[in-house]
Symmetry: C2
Subunit: 119 residues, 2 copies
């Protein structure tokens, strides 16, 4: 039986920490968010920006993000079909977290062995 969230069930899933982690975890997720933080995109332009992601995984990521209310899809009229993916207000609320992730990642590197600081 698939988990209710579409993501691996975690202990204490009711914890906000898990809620936030679920939103950004999964391969390609942060990169998709990064693209959408920068600008709205169609399915195709997202693929151009992330050339190595497969259509299946991109669909999965976008579905998850939509399911969490972080991304919205708009179908543009005309032919061929065009879509437009955009962050919702809630999705944009992830920006501070991504910044903090970046900042922390830099700190972790500075504190890791192998990074010569005072030789």
């Amino acid at each position: 039986m698939p988990s209710p969230t579409g993501r691996t069930l975690r202990p204490e899933a009711d914890c906000p920490v898990e809620t936030a982690l679920a939103a950004v975890s999964g391969r390609w997720t942060t990169l998709v968010l990064r693209e959408l933080l920068h600008a709205d995109h169609s399915f195709g332009t997202l693929r151009e920006r992330l050339p190595e992601i497969s259509p299946k995984v991109l669909t999965e990521r976008l579905d998850e993000l939509r399911g969490r209310g972080l991304v919205e899809r708009e179908r543009l009229p005309g032919f061929p079909v065009r879509t437009r993916y955009a962050l919702t207000d809630t999705g944009r609320a992830l920006r501070p977290l991504l910044i903090e992730l970046y900042r922390t990642g830099e700190v972790l590197r500075a504190g890791s062995p192998g990074t010569a600081a005072t030789p």
Copy 2:
């Protein structure tokens, strides 16, 4: 071939965001960190605090965290053997991130459908 980090290889693994995410992702990881942020622990007391974690997974998490320089292990003399796990300075640097994860998780919930706000 196992990935060099011991964790699923991610695209743009050189990105600090991925570095930080790798440090906190994985089931039980944030809970282990939470316990260690609160106090030092032995293998056994960690198991008491997290009754559902298996010894194998706890070992894996502690090894990963040690491998990243976030946790240190001290073997206490005497018998039976006792160990003490503690966060390093680098490990304590994760606290702001965990706080931001908590904060963001709360925001995501407030912005999710189903949470009646203004009926």
